[in-house]
Protein backbone atom coordinates (compact mmCIF):
# COMPACT_ATOMS: atom_id res chain seq x y z
CA UNK A 1 0.00 0.00 0.00
CA UNK A 2 1.07 3.50 -0.67
CA UNK A 3 1.08 5.62 2.47
CA UNK A 4 0.95 8.95 0.69
CA UNK A 5 -1.19 8.28 -2.37
CA UNK A 6 -4.48 6.54 -1.81
CA UNK A 7 -5.30 4.27 -4.72
CA UNK A 8 -1.78 4.15 -6.10
CA UNK A 9 -1.08 0.73 -7.51
CA UNK A 10 1.57 -1.31 -5.73
CA UNK A 11 2.93 -4.77 -6.33
CA UNK A 12 0.32 -6.30 -4.08
CA UNK A 13 -2.70 -4.54 -5.55
CA UNK A 14 -1.39 -4.95 -9.05
CA UNK A 15 -0.81 -8.66 -8.88
CA UNK A 16 -4.24 -9.40 -7.45
CA UNK A 17 -2.84 -12.65 -6.06
CA UNK A 18 -4.43 -14.72 -3.34
CA UNK A 19 -2.87 -15.17 0.06
CA UNK A 20 -1.72 -18.71 -0.74
CA UNK A 21 -0.04 -17.64 -3.93
CA UNK A 22 1.62 -14.74 -2.16
CA UNK A 23 2.87 -17.13 0.52
CA UNK A 24 4.32 -19.43 -2.14
CA UNK A 25 5.97 -16.43 -3.80
CA UNK A 26 7.47 -15.34 -0.49
CA UNK A 27 8.85 -18.80 0.21
CA UNK A 28 10.29 -19.03 -3.28
CA UNK A 29 11.85 -15.62 -2.87
CA UNK A 30 13.50 -16.61 0.38
CA UNK A 31 14.75 -19.82 -1.16
CA UNK A 32 16.27 -17.79 -3.98
CA UNK A 33 17.93 -15.47 -1.45
CA UNK A 34 19.21 -18.49 0.46
CA UNK A 35 20.98 -19.73 -2.66
CA UNK A 36 22.17 -16.24 -3.51
CA UNK A 37 23.81 -15.96 -0.08
CA UNK A 38 25.68 -19.19 -0.73
CA UNK A 39 26.84 -17.63 -3.99
CA UNK A 40 28.05 -14.60 -2.00
CA UNK A 41 30.30 -16.88 0.08
CA UNK A 42 31.66 -18.32 -3.12
CA UNK A 43 32.60 -14.89 -4.40
CA UNK A 44 35.35 -14.68 -1.77
CA UNK A 45 36.28 -18.33 -1.45
CA UNK A 46 39.48 -17.90 0.54
CA UNK A 47 38.05 -15.58 3.19
CA UNK A 48 34.93 -17.73 3.48
CA UNK A 49 36.97 -20.91 3.80
CA UNK A 50 39.07 -19.39 6.55
CA UNK A 51 36.01 -18.35 8.51
CA UNK A 52 34.42 -21.76 8.04
CA UNK A 53 37.71 -23.38 9.09
CA UNK A 54 37.83 -21.43 12.36
CA UNK A 55 34.19 -22.24 13.03
CA UNK A 56 34.73 -25.91 12.23
CA UNK A 57 37.64 -26.17 14.66
CA UNK A 58 35.72 -24.32 17.35
CA UNK A 59 32.87 -26.80 17.08
CA UNK A 60 35.18 -29.82 16.77
CA UNK A 61 36.95 -29.25 20.08
CA UNK A 62 34.00 -29.49 22.48
CA UNK A 63 32.38 -32.23 20.39
CA UNK A 64 35.51 -34.37 20.60
CA UNK A 65 35.87 -33.77 24.33
CA UNK A 66 32.24 -34.75 24.74
CA UNK A 67 32.89 -38.00 22.87
CA UNK A 68 35.93 -38.77 25.03
CA UNK A 69 33.93 -38.28 28.23
CA UNK A 70 31.12 -40.40 26.85
CA UNK A 71 33.56 -43.20 25.96
CA UNK A 72 35.24 -43.01 29.37
CA UNK A 73 31.89 -43.43 31.03
CA UNK A 74 31.20 -46.44 28.88
CA UNK A 75 34.53 -48.06 29.69
CA UNK A 76 34.23 -47.49 33.43
CA UNK A 77 30.70 -48.85 33.44
CA UNK A 78 32.33 -52.26 32.78
CA UNK A 79 34.67 -51.76 35.73
CA UNK A 80 32.01 -51.12 38.23
CA UNK A 81 32.69 -53.92 40.72
CA UNK A 82 32.86 -54.09 44.46
CA UNK A 83 36.17 -55.64 45.48
CA UNK A 84 35.54 -56.16 49.16
CA UNK A 85 33.02 -55.65 51.92
CA UNK A 86 34.21 -54.51 55.36
CA UNK A 87 31.89 -55.61 58.15
CA UNK A 88 32.40 -53.53 61.32
CA UNK A 89 31.26 -55.26 64.52
CA UNK A 90 29.71 -53.63 67.57
CA UNK A 91 32.26 -52.37 70.15
CA UNK A 92 31.47 -54.85 72.91
CA UNK A 93 31.67 -57.93 70.71
CA UNK A 94 34.11 -60.51 72.06
CA UNK A 95 36.78 -62.15 69.90
CA UNK A 96 35.04 -65.52 70.26
CA UNK A 97 31.74 -64.06 69.05
CA UNK A 98 33.56 -62.43 66.16
CA UNK A 99 35.20 -65.69 65.17
CA UNK A 100 31.83 -67.42 65.26
CA UNK A 101 30.31 -64.77 63.05
CA UNK A 102 33.20 -65.07 60.58
CA UNK A 103 32.58 -68.76 60.30
CA UNK A 104 28.84 -68.18 59.84
CA UNK A 105 29.17 -65.66 57.03
CA UNK A 106 31.90 -67.60 55.28
CA UNK A 107 29.27 -70.29 54.76
CA UNK A 108 26.90 -67.83 52.96
CA UNK A 109 26.39 -68.82 49.32
CA UNK A 110 27.25 -65.28 48.21
CA UNK A 111 30.57 -65.22 50.03
CA UNK A 112 33.85 -66.40 48.56
CA UNK A 113 36.00 -65.76 51.61
CA UNK A 114 35.81 -64.06 55.00
CA UNK A 115 38.73 -62.93 57.13
CA UNK A 116 38.62 -61.58 60.68
CA UNK A 117 40.77 -58.66 61.69
CA UNK A 118 40.46 -58.37 65.46
CA UNK A 119 40.60 -55.01 67.20
CA UNK A 120 44.02 -55.84 68.60
CA UNK A 121 45.43 -56.78 65.21
CA UNK A 122 43.88 -53.71 63.67
CA UNK A 123 45.57 -51.53 66.28
CA UNK A 124 48.95 -53.17 65.59
CA UNK A 125 48.40 -52.63 61.87
CA UNK A 126 47.49 -49.05 62.55
CA UNK A 127 50.58 -48.50 64.69
CA UNK A 128 52.79 -49.99 62.03
CA UNK A 129 51.19 -48.02 59.25
CA UNK A 130 51.16 -44.71 61.11
CA UNK A 131 54.40 -45.03 63.08
CA UNK A 132 52.57 -44.13 66.31
CA UNK A 133 53.89 -46.84 68.61
CA UNK A 134 52.32 -47.61 71.96
CA UNK A 135 49.29 -45.58 71.11
CA UNK A 136 47.31 -47.31 73.88
CA UNK A 137 49.34 -45.27 76.35
CA UNK A 138 47.27 -42.25 75.26
CA UNK A 139 43.94 -44.06 75.07
CA UNK A 140 41.91 -45.71 77.81
CA UNK A 141 41.16 -48.69 75.65
CA UNK A 142 41.42 -49.82 72.03
CA UNK A 143 38.85 -47.72 70.11
CA UNK A 144 38.90 -49.97 67.05
CA UNK A 145 36.17 -52.55 66.41
CA UNK A 146 36.66 -56.05 65.08
CA UNK A 147 36.30 -56.13 61.32
CA UNK A 148 35.43 -59.03 59.03
CA UNK A 149 36.71 -58.59 55.47
CA UNK A 150 34.45 -60.36 53.01
CA UNK A 151 35.19 -61.15 49.37
CA UNK A 152 31.93 -61.71 47.51
CA UNK A 153 31.57 -64.42 44.88
CA UNK A 154 32.00 -63.23 41.28
CA UNK A 155 28.26 -63.08 40.68
CA UNK A 156 27.80 -60.70 43.64
CA UNK A 157 30.35 -58.05 42.77
CA UNK A 158 28.00 -55.84 40.75
CA UNK A 159 27.15 -52.84 42.90
CA UNK A 160 23.47 -53.66 43.28
CA UNK A 161 24.00 -57.29 44.25
CA UNK A 162 26.87 -56.29 46.53
CA UNK A 163 24.70 -53.70 48.23
CA UNK A 164 21.98 -56.27 48.85
CA UNK A 165 24.61 -58.54 50.33
CA UNK A 166 25.78 -55.75 52.63
CA UNK A 167 22.20 -55.27 53.84
CA UNK A 168 21.91 -58.97 54.54
CA UNK A 169 25.19 -59.03 56.45
CA UNK A 170 24.18 -55.99 58.49
CA UNK A 171 21.18 -57.91 59.80
CA UNK A 172 23.48 -60.43 61.56
CA UNK A 173 23.93 -60.06 65.31
CA UNK A 174 27.02 -58.17 66.53
CA UNK A 175 27.29 -56.34 63.18
CA UNK A 176 27.46 -52.58 63.51
CA UNK A 177 27.58 -51.67 59.80
CA UNK A 178 29.02 -52.86 56.51
CA UNK A 179 30.98 -50.88 53.98
CA UNK A 180 31.32 -51.52 50.27
CA UNK A 181 34.78 -50.88 48.91
CA UNK A 182 33.97 -48.89 45.81
CA UNK A 183 35.44 -45.57 46.84
CA UNK A 184 38.04 -45.59 44.11
CA UNK A 185 35.28 -46.00 41.61
CA UNK A 186 33.35 -43.13 43.13
CA UNK A 187 36.47 -41.03 42.91
CA UNK A 188 36.77 -41.90 39.25
CA UNK A 189 33.16 -40.95 38.71
CA UNK A 190 33.74 -37.63 40.45
CA UNK A 191 36.70 -37.04 38.14
CA UNK A 192 34.68 -37.88 35.04
CA UNK A 193 31.92 -35.60 36.23
CA UNK A 194 34.40 -32.76 36.67
CA UNK A 195 35.64 -33.51 33.16
CA UNK A 196 32.07 -33.33 31.92
CA UNK A 197 31.67 -29.91 33.57
CA UNK A 198 34.90 -28.77 31.94
CA UNK A 199 33.58 -29.92 28.55
CA UNK A 200 30.45 -27.88 29.16
CA UNK A 201 32.42 -24.78 30.04
CA UNK A 202 34.70 -25.18 27.03
CA UNK A 203 31.67 -25.80 24.84
CA UNK A 204 29.89 -22.70 26.07
CA UNK A 205 32.98 -20.54 25.66
CA UNK A 206 33.55 -21.82 22.14
CA UNK A 207 29.89 -21.32 21.24
CA UNK A 208 30.21 -17.73 22.37
CA UNK A 209 33.32 -17.34 20.25
CA UNK A 210 31.53 -18.87 17.24
CA UNK A 211 28.78 -16.28 17.66
CA UNK A 212 31.37 -13.51 17.90
CA UNK A 213 33.31 -14.74 14.87
CA UNK A 214 30.21 -14.96 12.72
CA UNK A 215 28.98 -11.62 14.05
CA UNK A 216 32.24 -9.98 13.11
CA UNK A 217 32.38 -11.61 9.68
CA UNK A 218 28.85 -10.42 8.95
CA UNK A 219 29.79 -6.96 10.21
CA UNK A 220 32.62 -6.83 7.68
CA UNK A 221 30.26 -8.05 4.97
CA UNK A 222 27.79 -5.31 5.84
CA UNK A 223 30.47 -2.61 5.85
CA UNK A 224 31.87 -3.77 2.53
CA UNK A 225 28.39 -3.48 1.03
CA UNK A 226 27.70 -0.09 2.54
CA UNK A 227 27.15 1.62 -0.81
CA UNK A 228 24.79 -1.07 -1.94
CA UNK A 229 22.78 -0.85 1.28
CA UNK A 230 22.48 2.91 0.94
CA UNK A 231 21.22 2.60 -2.62
CA UNK A 232 18.72 -0.05 -1.61
CA UNK A 233 17.43 2.15 1.18
CA UNK A 234 17.14 5.08 -1.21
CA UNK A 235 14.89 3.15 -3.54
CA UNK A 236 12.67 1.99 -0.69
CA UNK A 237 14.11 -1.22 0.74
CA UNK A 238 13.00 -2.01 4.28
CA UNK A 239 15.59 -3.00 6.87
CA UNK A 240 14.16 -6.51 6.77
CA UNK A 241 14.66 -6.80 3.03
CA UNK A 242 18.31 -5.84 3.46
CA UNK A 243 18.70 -8.00 6.54
CA UNK A 244 17.70 -11.39 5.18
CA UNK A 245 20.64 -12.09 2.87
CA UNK A 246 23.04 -11.42 5.76
CA UNK A 247 21.08 -13.72 8.05
CA UNK A 248 21.24 -16.41 5.41
CA UNK A 249 24.98 -15.88 5.05
CA UNK A 250 25.34 -16.35 8.82
CA UNK A 251 23.30 -19.52 8.60
CA UNK A 252 25.47 -20.87 5.83
CA UNK A 253 28.61 -20.13 7.83
CA UNK A 254 27.14 -22.03 10.77
CA UNK A 255 26.00 -24.98 8.70
CA UNK A 256 29.24 -25.30 6.76
CA UNK A 257 31.26 -24.94 9.97
CA UNK A 258 29.15 -27.75 11.48
CA UNK A 259 29.70 -29.98 8.46
CA UNK A 260 33.44 -29.34 8.63
CA UNK A 261 33.41 -30.19 12.35
CA UNK A 262 31.61 -33.43 11.58
CA UNK A 263 34.22 -34.38 8.99
CA UNK A 264 37.05 -33.52 11.40
CA UNK A 265 35.48 -35.53 14.22
CA UNK A 266 34.96 -38.56 11.97
CA UNK A 267 38.59 -38.31 10.91
CA UNK A 268 39.84 -37.96 14.50
CA UNK A 269 37.83 -40.97 15.63
CA UNK A 270 39.09 -43.06 12.75
CA UNK A 271 42.63 -42.03 13.63
CA UNK A 272 42.27 -42.77 17.36
CA UNK A 273 40.46 -46.02 16.70
CA UNK A 274 43.47 -47.91 15.32
CA UNK A 275 45.61 -46.87 18.30
CA UNK A 276 42.93 -47.89 20.76
CA UNK A 277 42.39 -51.21 19.00
CA UNK A 278 46.11 -51.96 19.45
CA UNK A 279 45.92 -51.05 23.12
CA UNK A 280 42.82 -53.17 23.64
CA UNK A 281 44.57 -56.06 21.94
CA UNK A 282 47.39 -55.89 24.47
CA UNK A 283 44.84 -56.29 27.27
CA UNK A 284 43.09 -58.96 25.23
CA UNK A 285 39.83 -57.07 25.26
CA UNK A 286 37.62 -55.63 22.60
CA UNK A 287 36.80 -51.96 22.58
CA UNK A 288 35.29 -49.75 19.92
CA UNK A 289 35.09 -45.98 20.22
CA UNK A 290 31.56 -44.69 20.18
CA UNK A 291 31.21 -42.13 17.40
CA UNK A 292 28.57 -39.51 16.69
CA UNK A 293 25.17 -41.05 16.23
CA UNK A 294 22.59 -39.36 14.02
CA UNK A 295 21.05 -37.50 16.95
CA UNK A 296 24.40 -36.06 18.04
CA UNK A 297 25.19 -35.12 14.45
CA UNK A 298 21.79 -33.47 14.10
CA UNK A 299 22.34 -31.56 17.34
CA UNK A 300 25.76 -30.33 16.17
CA UNK A 301 24.44 -29.15 12.80
CA UNK A 302 21.36 -27.53 14.31
CA UNK A 303 23.42 -25.86 17.00
CA UNK A 304 25.90 -24.47 14.47
CA UNK A 305 23.07 -23.11 12.33
CA UNK A 306 21.53 -21.48 15.40
CA UNK A 307 24.89 -20.00 16.41
CA UNK A 308 25.41 -18.66 12.88
CA UNK A 309 21.98 -17.12 12.88
CA UNK A 310 22.50 -15.64 16.32
CA UNK A 311 25.83 -14.06 15.35
CA UNK A 312 24.38 -12.55 12.20
CA UNK A 313 21.21 -11.32 13.93
CA UNK A 314 23.29 -9.45 16.51
CA UNK A 315 25.47 -7.91 13.82
CA UNK A 316 22.62 -7.06 11.47
CA UNK A 317 20.52 -5.47 14.22
CA UNK A 318 23.36 -3.20 15.13
CA UNK A 319 24.83 -2.24 11.78
CA UNK A 320 22.06 -2.11 9.17
CA UNK A 321 20.16 0.52 11.10
CA UNK A 322 23.32 2.62 11.30
CA UNK A 323 23.78 2.82 7.55
CA UNK A 324 21.48 5.58 6.32
CA UNK A 325 21.66 7.61 3.12
CA UNK A 326 22.88 11.16 3.76
Amino acid sequence: MSLLFAGRKTAVTEHKVGIVQRFVMTVLNHFRQLLASLGELWRQPLASLMTIGVLGLSITLPSTLYLLVKNTEQVTAGWEQAGEISLYLKPNTSVAQAQQLRLAVSLFSEVEAAELVTADNALIEFEQASGLTNSLAYLDKNPLPHVILITPKASYVQPNAARTLVKKLERQTHVDFGKLDIEWLERLYATVSVARDVVWIVAILLCVSVVLIIGNTIRLNILSQREEIIIMKLVGATDNFIRFPFLYTGMWYGLLGGVLAWILIAFLLWWLQSGIANLANLYQTQFTLTGLDTTALGVILLLSIILGLLGSIISVQKHIKEIEPK
Binding site: F5, I231, L234, V235
Partner: protein
Protein backbone atom coordinates in the same frame (compact mmCIF):
# COMPACT_ATOMS: atom_id res chain seq x y z
CA UNK B 1 2.04 17.69 -4.00
CA UNK B 2 4.95 19.17 -2.05
CA UNK B 3 4.30 21.71 0.67
CA UNK B 4 6.92 23.34 2.89
CA UNK B 5 5.36 25.00 5.89
CA UNK B 6 7.77 27.40 7.64
CA UNK B 7 10.61 24.92 7.42
CA UNK B 8 13.98 25.59 9.04
CA UNK B 9 16.83 23.14 9.15
CA UNK B 10 19.87 23.34 11.37
CA UNK B 11 22.39 20.54 10.88
CA UNK B 12 24.05 18.99 13.87
CA UNK B 13 27.05 21.22 14.43
CA UNK B 14 24.95 24.36 14.12
CA UNK B 15 25.05 24.90 10.35
CA UNK B 16 21.81 26.73 9.50
CA UNK B 17 20.85 25.34 6.06
CA UNK B 18 17.24 26.52 5.68
CA UNK B 19 15.35 29.41 7.24
CA UNK B 20 11.56 29.64 7.28
CA UNK B 21 11.04 28.20 3.83
CA UNK B 22 7.45 28.20 2.50
CA UNK B 23 6.34 26.94 -0.89
CA UNK B 24 3.90 24.63 -2.58
CA UNK B 25 4.43 22.60 -5.72
CA UNK B 26 1.15 21.38 -7.16
CA UNK B 27 0.31 17.93 -8.48
CA UNK B 28 1.49 17.46 -12.04
CA UNK B 29 3.72 20.51 -11.87
CA UNK B 30 7.30 20.69 -13.06
CA UNK B 31 9.42 23.12 -11.04
CA UNK B 32 13.06 24.02 -10.66
CA UNK B 33 14.99 24.81 -7.53
CA UNK B 34 18.01 27.00 -8.20
CA UNK B 35 20.68 28.70 -6.19
CA UNK B 36 24.41 28.70 -5.70
CA UNK B 37 26.30 25.82 -4.29
CA UNK B 38 25.60 25.61 -0.55
CA UNK B 39 22.33 27.53 -0.81
CA UNK B 40 20.27 24.66 0.56
CA UNK B 41 18.89 22.91 -2.53
CA UNK B 42 19.97 19.41 -1.58
CA UNK B 43 18.69 19.98 1.93
CA UNK B 44 15.22 20.68 0.58
CA UNK B 45 15.26 17.48 -1.48
CA UNK B 46 16.59 15.47 1.48
CA UNK B 47 13.73 16.73 3.61
CA UNK B 48 11.28 15.48 1.00
CA UNK B 49 12.95 12.09 0.66
CA UNK B 50 13.29 11.72 4.44
CA UNK B 51 17.07 11.63 4.45
CA UNK B 52 16.82 14.55 6.87
CA UNK B 53 14.13 15.83 9.18
CA UNK B 54 13.21 19.52 9.58
CA UNK B 55 14.33 21.26 12.78
CA UNK B 56 11.26 23.49 12.68
CA UNK B 57 8.15 23.44 10.49
CA UNK B 58 6.37 20.78 8.45
CA UNK B 59 6.96 19.07 5.14
CA UNK B 60 3.82 17.67 3.53
CA UNK B 61 3.50 15.38 0.54
CA UNK B 62 0.05 14.96 -0.96
CA UNK B 63 -1.32 16.45 2.26
CA UNK B 64 0.48 13.99 4.55
CA UNK B 65 2.75 15.50 7.18
CA UNK B 66 5.99 13.53 6.92
CA UNK B 67 6.72 14.35 10.56
CA UNK B 68 3.69 12.28 11.58
CA UNK B 69 5.03 9.14 9.92
CA UNK B 70 7.18 6.70 11.81
CA UNK B 71 10.68 5.55 10.98
CA UNK B 72 9.23 2.24 9.77
CA UNK B 73 7.23 4.07 7.09
CA UNK B 74 10.26 5.67 5.44
CA UNK B 75 10.93 2.88 2.91
CA UNK B 76 7.30 2.88 1.79
CA UNK B 77 7.33 6.66 1.32
CA UNK B 78 10.49 6.44 -0.75
CA UNK B 79 8.71 4.02 -3.08
CA UNK B 80 6.33 6.87 -3.95
CA UNK B 81 9.19 9.20 -4.80
CA UNK B 82 11.59 8.67 -7.67
CA UNK B 83 15.02 10.09 -6.86
CA UNK B 84 17.81 11.02 -9.23
CA UNK B 85 21.24 12.09 -8.03
CA UNK B 86 24.20 13.83 -9.54
CA UNK B 87 26.37 10.85 -8.74
CA UNK B 88 24.45 8.08 -10.35
CA UNK B 89 24.31 5.78 -7.33
CA UNK B 90 24.28 2.65 -9.46
CA UNK B 91 25.35 -0.80 -8.33
CA UNK B 92 28.49 -1.26 -10.37
CA UNK B 93 28.63 -5.04 -10.02
CA UNK B 94 25.17 -5.56 -11.50
CA UNK B 95 23.81 -5.17 -14.98
CA UNK B 96 21.86 -2.15 -16.14
CA UNK B 97 18.75 -4.31 -16.09
CA UNK B 98 19.28 -5.38 -12.47
CA UNK B 99 19.90 -1.78 -11.42
CA UNK B 100 16.68 -0.57 -12.95
CA UNK B 101 14.79 -3.60 -11.60
CA UNK B 102 15.85 -2.94 -7.99
CA UNK B 103 12.82 -0.88 -6.85
CA UNK B 104 10.48 -3.48 -8.35
CA UNK B 105 12.32 -6.39 -6.73
CA UNK B 106 12.12 -4.58 -3.41
CA UNK B 107 8.41 -4.03 -3.82
CA UNK B 108 7.89 -7.69 -4.66
CA UNK B 109 6.80 -7.64 -8.27
CA UNK B 110 6.74 -10.86 -10.25
CA UNK B 111 9.52 -11.68 -12.74
CA UNK B 112 7.18 -11.10 -15.65
CA UNK B 113 6.09 -7.67 -14.45
CA UNK B 114 9.67 -6.72 -13.70
CA UNK B 115 10.90 -7.63 -17.16
CA UNK B 116 8.04 -5.76 -18.83
CA UNK B 117 8.45 -2.60 -16.79
CA UNK B 118 12.25 -2.49 -16.86
CA UNK B 119 12.22 -2.85 -20.62
CA UNK B 120 9.66 -0.06 -20.93
CA UNK B 121 11.73 2.24 -18.69
CA UNK B 122 14.97 1.45 -20.51
CA UNK B 123 13.27 1.99 -23.84
CA UNK B 124 12.09 5.39 -22.66
CA UNK B 125 15.64 6.51 -21.82
CA UNK B 126 16.95 4.94 -25.02
CA UNK B 127 19.06 2.23 -23.41
CA UNK B 128 17.08 -0.92 -24.10
CA UNK B 129 19.96 -2.36 -26.10
CA UNK B 130 22.31 -1.91 -23.12
CA UNK B 131 20.19 -3.84 -20.61
CA UNK B 132 22.78 -6.57 -20.09
CA UNK B 133 25.78 -4.21 -19.94
CA UNK B 134 27.59 -3.29 -16.75
CA UNK B 135 27.14 0.39 -15.81
CA UNK B 136 30.91 0.76 -16.16
CA UNK B 137 30.61 0.13 -19.88
CA UNK B 138 28.37 3.19 -20.28
CA UNK B 139 29.18 6.88 -20.64
CA UNK B 140 28.33 9.39 -17.90
CA UNK B 141 25.21 10.54 -19.71
CA UNK B 142 24.08 6.97 -20.25
CA UNK B 143 24.65 6.14 -16.58
CA UNK B 144 22.55 9.15 -15.64
CA UNK B 145 19.78 7.83 -17.86
CA UNK B 146 19.97 4.44 -16.13
CA UNK B 147 19.46 6.34 -12.87
CA UNK B 148 16.41 8.05 -14.36
CA UNK B 149 15.03 4.72 -15.59
CA UNK B 150 15.41 3.31 -12.08
CA UNK B 151 13.69 6.35 -10.57
CA UNK B 152 10.62 6.05 -12.79
CA UNK B 153 10.35 2.29 -13.20
CA UNK B 154 7.73 1.93 -10.48
CA UNK B 155 5.85 4.96 -11.78
CA UNK B 156 6.14 7.26 -8.78
CA UNK B 157 3.76 10.25 -8.68
CA UNK B 158 6.69 12.46 -7.71
CA UNK B 159 10.15 12.68 -9.24
CA UNK B 160 13.02 14.51 -7.51
CA UNK B 161 16.32 15.25 -9.20
CA UNK B 162 19.39 16.74 -7.51
CA UNK B 163 21.77 18.25 -10.08
CA UNK B 164 20.85 15.62 -12.65
CA UNK B 165 22.93 17.29 -15.35
CA UNK B 166 25.85 18.28 -13.15
CA UNK B 167 28.45 16.25 -15.00
CA UNK B 168 27.02 16.46 -18.47
CA UNK B 169 27.70 18.68 -21.47
CA UNK B 170 24.94 21.12 -22.56
CA UNK B 171 23.62 18.90 -25.35
CA UNK B 172 23.22 15.86 -23.09
CA UNK B 173 21.77 18.10 -20.37
CA UNK B 174 19.11 19.31 -22.73
CA UNK B 175 18.24 15.74 -23.70
CA UNK B 176 17.74 14.85 -20.09
CA UNK B 177 15.60 17.92 -19.52
CA UNK B 178 13.41 16.85 -22.43
CA UNK B 179 13.05 13.49 -20.80
CA UNK B 180 11.86 15.12 -17.59
CA UNK B 181 9.44 17.19 -19.60
CA UNK B 182 8.00 14.12 -21.26
CA UNK B 183 7.62 12.43 -17.87
CA UNK B 184 5.91 15.53 -16.53
CA UNK B 185 3.54 15.54 -19.49
CA UNK B 186 2.53 12.01 -18.57
CA UNK B 187 1.32 13.35 -15.21
CA UNK B 188 4.36 13.00 -12.96
CA UNK B 189 5.20 15.92 -10.66
CA UNK B 190 8.84 16.82 -11.23
CA UNK B 191 11.07 18.87 -8.93
CA UNK B 192 14.63 19.53 -10.11
CA UNK B 193 17.45 21.17 -8.16
CA UNK B 194 20.21 22.68 -10.26
CA UNK B 195 22.72 25.50 -10.23
CA UNK B 196 22.84 25.43 -14.03
CA UNK B 197 20.92 28.65 -14.67
CA UNK B 198 21.76 28.60 -18.37
CA UNK B 199 19.91 25.34 -18.71
CA UNK B 200 16.65 26.44 -17.16
CA UNK B 201 16.79 29.85 -18.75
CA UNK B 202 15.85 28.03 -21.93
CA UNK B 203 12.82 26.39 -20.38
CA UNK B 204 9.59 28.01 -19.38
CA UNK B 205 8.93 26.58 -15.98
CA UNK B 206 8.39 27.72 -12.45
CA UNK B 207 11.64 28.47 -10.68
CA UNK B 208 12.20 28.66 -6.94
CA UNK B 209 15.40 30.55 -6.16
CA UNK B 210 17.11 29.94 -2.87
CA UNK B 211 19.96 31.90 -1.35
CA UNK B 212 21.68 31.21 1.96
CA UNK B 213 18.81 29.00 3.05
CA UNK B 214 16.07 31.52 2.25
CA UNK B 215 13.59 31.38 -0.58
CA UNK B 216 14.12 34.71 -2.38
CA UNK B 217 12.19 34.29 -5.61
CA UNK B 218 9.35 32.15 -6.91
CA UNK B 219 8.19 32.68 -10.48
CA UNK B 220 8.16 31.62 -14.09
CA UNK B 221 11.17 31.73 -16.36
CA UNK B 222 9.87 33.67 -19.30
CA UNK B 223 12.51 34.61 -21.80
CA UNK B 224 13.12 31.70 -24.08
CA UNK B 225 10.61 29.10 -25.13
CA UNK B 226 11.63 25.51 -25.16
CA UNK B 227 12.25 24.01 -28.56
CA UNK B 228 9.66 21.59 -29.78
CA UNK B 229 10.04 18.45 -27.76
CA UNK B 230 10.00 15.25 -29.73
CA UNK B 231 10.36 12.86 -26.84
CA UNK B 232 7.26 10.73 -26.67
CA UNK B 233 6.31 8.32 -23.92
CA UNK B 234 5.49 4.75 -24.88
CA UNK B 235 1.87 3.99 -24.14
CA UNK B 236 2.56 1.61 -21.23
CA UNK B 237 4.56 4.14 -19.27
CA UNK B 238 2.14 6.29 -17.39
CA UNK B 239 1.70 7.66 -13.94
CA UNK B 240 -0.82 6.28 -11.54
CA UNK B 241 -2.25 9.45 -10.07
CA UNK B 242 -4.72 11.05 -12.42
CA UNK B 243 -4.72 14.52 -10.95
CA UNK B 244 -5.02 17.61 -13.16
CA UNK B 245 -1.87 19.13 -14.61
CA UNK B 246 -0.34 22.33 -13.40
CA UNK B 247 -0.56 24.03 -16.78
Amino acid sequence: MIKFDDVSKTYPGGQLALQKVNFHVAKGEMAFLTGHSGAGKSTILKLISLMERPSVGRVLINGHDLGQLSHKDIPYIRRDIGMIFQSHQLLMDRTVFDNVALPLVIEGYSRKQITKRVHAALDLVGLLSRAQNAPMALSGGQQQRVGIARAIVNRPPLLLADEPTGNLDPKLSMEIMRLFEALNQSGMSVFIATHDLGLIARMKYRNLTIKNGRLIEDGLQEDVLLNETNTKLPSDVHVDNDTPRYR
